[in-house]
């Protein structure tokens, strides 16, 4: 009766402030949220929207500079804001628990995972020394970890990312809490693993009648797993409605913009941009288009197996185990002016392949022909001096990691020109400004250091640096994986315009088939070092032949359109 009307968690007018050097910053402004018993609420927003801070405030684990300035938080009627820290500690883990983004970082690396679960159980009086082990194994079994008794004694580094996240879920659910807060629980996991983990969370919480607060930047994920969705922008909830309603008919302009920017079946590259953004006219295709630019034949990369097993085998005089084949004899080609997508989950060998093509890694066997020249046999050490070096460039996955923190934006863009180009002095400056204009980086930002720039701006610098010498082939290694969807939409469009204008070819390495489809003419799907499927983007997405491709496509959540 009462329990049906009083929400489990009721957040009213929550305002969170952070004291910084430039004064007080309001990260969360008068946010109202409520979660009913058994309900799953999705909080969706881009980075910096305050969605994580809201959840930290609920758990009262804000960092030292942050404080709840206003508002109230009631958990089944108990005001959490005023609760003494001692009682709060009891509540955390027993009543409310949390799953964090990086499962490996959330686990203690030097303690077996089963014991970590037992620790939580014993801390909250759910188990005794005698039965802790059995209970921990039972908890592992509940999250579908096969051979749970054996895995009980495994260390986090011995488990895969998906497996670690299951352990974290087991930890979070061990004390049967009433509210689960999941903060980007599947970011960094492969799509098929993401689906398995999310299905598991949904099933377990439903079984126990738990409520879930799912924080995510992925609209597709929110639509697939939430009952209700709250959209946050710059610390405010701009829309809060039923999940189906919000995706069918978003009322707020920001929600509409987010929806548009999310790659989905049936939407073209231009459809991702906000309404009214004029698409640039497409220039005439390159007359040389269609000639083969890059031909890869039977490319293999082997890594010798190291460790005790190999040693013992050698001691015993047995043949050592066959070396690990990260890339197992793949062949494909990229024509001039063409975009080819290389898709696969982590560990499938796609990054190893791109490093070999980039001549940063020597292949074990196979041939790489670039513009008619065999480059696979050229050693990587000397390739920096090769005349072919400026013609193959790369845009890296993490825009922050790929910029030298000690170089300004203009110096970073000028770097390839200084090494391999001819322009100097004023001509160099003019070329850098031209490149900045080309990638849409305001010239005023050219004097800034990477830490003074946003993710999207850093991505633009990475692209400007890659195209500075007019390369023939650019390898894009998940260039938008670290970006928000709206920035991703802009960057993908930028890449497409640049390709047409400069007549480049792209090899787009990604795990997301929907993103690859937008930019690429052809798609190659890799698994365990082998090519499982190859064909035109449309054919692979709409009519996949391989089971694995079908599985990949089915695992990607997307909002109903």
């Amino acid at each position: 009766m009462d329990s049906n009307t009083v929400p489990l968690l009721d957040v009213r007018d929550l305002t969170v402030e952070f004291a910084t050097r430039r004064g007080t910053v309001r990260a969360v402004k008068r946010v109202n949220l409520s979660i009913a018993r058994g309900e799953t609420l999705g909080v969706v927003g881009e980075s910096g929207s305050g969605k994580s801070v809201t959840s930290y405030a609920v758990m009262r684990i804000l960092e030292r500079t942050g404080r709840i300035a206003e508002g109230s938080i009631a958990f089944s009627g108990v005001p959490l804001r005023e609760l003494p820290e001692r009682e709060m500690r009891d509540l955390r883990g027993r009543e409310i628990s949390m799953i964090f983004q990086n499962p490996r970082a959330a686990l203690n690396p030097i303690r077996p995972v089963g014991q970590q679960i037992a620790d939580v159980l014993r801390r909250h009086g759910q188990a005794t020394r005698a039965n802790a082990r059995a209970k921990a194994i039972a908890a592992l079994e509940q999250v579908r970890i096969a051979r749970a008794a054996e895995r009980h004694d495994a260390y986090p580094f011995e488990l895969s990312g998906g497996m670690c996240q299951r352990v974290v879920i087991a930890l979070a659910l061990a004390c049967r809490p009433r509210l689960l807060i999941a903060d980007e629980p599947t970011t960094g996991l492969d799509v098929t693993t993401q689906k398995a983990v999310m299905d598991l969370v949904t099933e377990l919480t439903r079984e126990r009648g738990m409520s879930t607060l799912l924080i995510t930047h992925d609209l597709g994920l929110a639509s697939a797993y939430c009952d209700r969705v709250a959209v946050m922008q710059q610390g405010e909830v701009v829309e809060n409605a039923d999940a189906i309603a919000i995706f069918r008919a978003p009322t707020h302009a920001y929600t509409r913009r987010l929806m548009r920017a999310t790659p989905r079946p049936g939407a073209g590259l231009r459809d991702l941009l906000p309404e009214g953004a004029a698409p640039a006219p497409l220039p005439a295709p390159d007359p040389r288009a269609g000639e083969p630019l890059l031909e890869v034949e039977g490319l293999v990369k082997e890594y010798p197996r190291t460790g005790l097993g190999g040693w013992l085998a050698r001691l015993a005089g047995r043949a050592p185990e066959a070396p690990f084949r990260a890339v197992d004899g793949i062949s494909f080609r990229v024509n001039r002016g063409e975009s080819v997508g290389l898709v696969g989950e982590s560990g499938c060998g796609k990054s190893t392949t791109s490093m070999m093509l980039m001549r940063l890694l020597d292949p074990t066997a196979g041939r790489i022909r670039f513009a008619g020249q065999e480059i696979g046999a050229m050693p990587t050490r000397g390739f920096a001096a090769s005349p072919l070096r400026p013609r193959i460039q790369m845009v890296f996955q993490d825009p922050t990691d790929s910029l030298n923190p000690r170089l300004t934006a203009s110096r970073a863009i000028a770097d390839p020109i200084l090494r391999m180009g001819r322009e100097r002095g004023a001509a160099l400056q003019a070329r850098v400004e031209e490149l900045a204009d080309l990638v849409g980086l305001p010239r005023i930002l050219l004097h800034r250091f990477p830490h003074q720039l946003s993710g999207g701006q850093k991505a633009r610098i990475g692209i400007a640096r890659a195209i500075a010498l007019n390369p023939d082939l650019v390898i894009l290694d998940e260039p938008t994986a670290a970006l928000d969807v709206s920035v991703q939409a802009v960057v993908l469009n930028l890449l497409q315009d640049l390709k047409l204008r400069l007549g480049m070819s792209y090899l787009f390495v990604s795990h997301d088939l929907h993103v690859v489809r937008l930019l690429c003419d052809r798609v190659i799907v890799m698994r365990q070092g082998k090519v499982v499927e190859e064909g035109s983007s449309q054919q692979v997405l709409e009519n996949p032949r391989a089971d694995y491709t079908r599985e990949l496509i089915a695992a990607i959540p997307h909002p109903p359109v």
Binding site: T20, R21, E46, S47, G48, M358, L360, R381, A384, A385, R389, P390, Q393, M394, F396, Q397, D398, D401, S402, L403, N404, P405, R406, T408, D415, P416, R419, M420, I444, L445, H447, R448, F449, H451, Q452, L453, S454, G455, G456, Q457, G462, R465, A466, D484, S486, V487, V490
Partner: protein
């Protein structure tokens, strides 16, 4: 977060101005760091202007006034030859600081380069540098320094070399670890793609990114270098009397402590302690200043 509205659109300030502003903030936030900087400038002043600010000639002996206790004319008292201890303490700053700075600079270049190369190239370079460092660490460091000075001869240059050698493993190991972490970083790969050869990547990309960490290390080992130089002089190696040097002065004064003339050893010892203390605090402050995590 396409365009961050929090960042002012005005012309970006020069990096030096930004660093100075940041340094001012760190110093303002932490009075201990401010004190360390103050003491550091005092030491620097004594080192640069010592002979001019010392009230008496540090070498002029006056046996009539031997072992006089602290007084107005000799605030730190006089030693067994009647020399003014305050003047000797001030003038000695230049020598002690000079030895420390030279040896730290030497080990910074040698240890830093060897360590960076070991971390970056790995393989044989790493093994050779690692074994050299292990060999040095296998000896008690002060005894090793004593042996080097005794073998090479009793000069200031040899004290500098000995101090540098005993500090080598510390620098090489830090530089090696930092370079090894950065070897596979995205921006290092990007530098390779933009046509930088291996050596250019090492010197132009990796080394500048390690310098701040090494600079902190320099300040921290500076204190140890001063102690090492003074220690060598204390046991009679290195600097010879009558040259004013803190270590010798403590050694000379030690004999008089039992007979009640405490000031002969105490004041040079205090100066030594203060210098070591200053550089250690300075290292902590520098660490805060160069830490990019604290720059917001």
């Amino acid at each position: 977060m396409a365009e961050n509205p929090a960042l002012p659109a005005a012309r970006a300030p020069s990096p030096l101005a930004a660093l100075l502003r940041h340094a001012r903030h760190v110093v303002g936030e932490n009075p201990v760091t401010a004190m360390a900087f103050g003491l550091f400038f005092l030491l620097l002043l004594c080192a640069l202007l010592g002979p001019w600010i010392a009230p008496h000639d540090p070498l002029a002996s006056d046996t009539a006034r031997a072992l006089a206790p602290p007084s107005l004319s000799n605030p730190f008292g006089t030693d067994h030859l009647g020399r003014d201890i305050l003047s000797r303490v001030i003038v000695a700053t230049r020598l002690d600081l000079g030895i420390a700075i030279c040896s730290v600079a030497l080990v910074f270049v040698l240890g830093g380069l060897a360590g960076v190369a070991a971390g970056f190239f790995g393989g044989w370079t790493d093994r050779i540098v690692g074994r050299i460092a292990d060999t040095i660490m296998a000896f008690p460091l002060f005894v090793l320094a004593m042996g080097i000075v005794a073998a090479l001869g009793n000069t200031v240059t040899n004290i500098v070399i000995a101090t540098a050698i005993v500090n080598f493993p510390l620098y090489a190991r830090i530089a090696r670890a930092e370079a090894a972490v950065r070897r596979e970083a995205g921006y290092v790969q990007a530098a390779r793609l933009t046509g930088n050869g291996e050596w250019r990547v090492l010197l132009g990309t990796i080394l500048p990114n390690i310098l701040p960490i090494m600079a902190v290390q320099m300040s921290l080992t500076m204190g140890y270098a001063i102690l090492n130089a003074a220690g060598l002089s204390f046991i009679g190696l290195g600097i010879r009397p009558p040259m004013p040097e803190w270590g010798i002065m403590v050694a000379e004064g030690a004999a008089y402590i039992v007979s009640g003339e405490w000031w002969v050893a105490l004041f040079p010892g205090l100066a030594l302690m203060l210098a070591v203390f200053t550089f250690n605090l300075l290292g902590d402050g520098l660490r805060d200043i160069v830490d990019p995590q604290r720059r917001s």
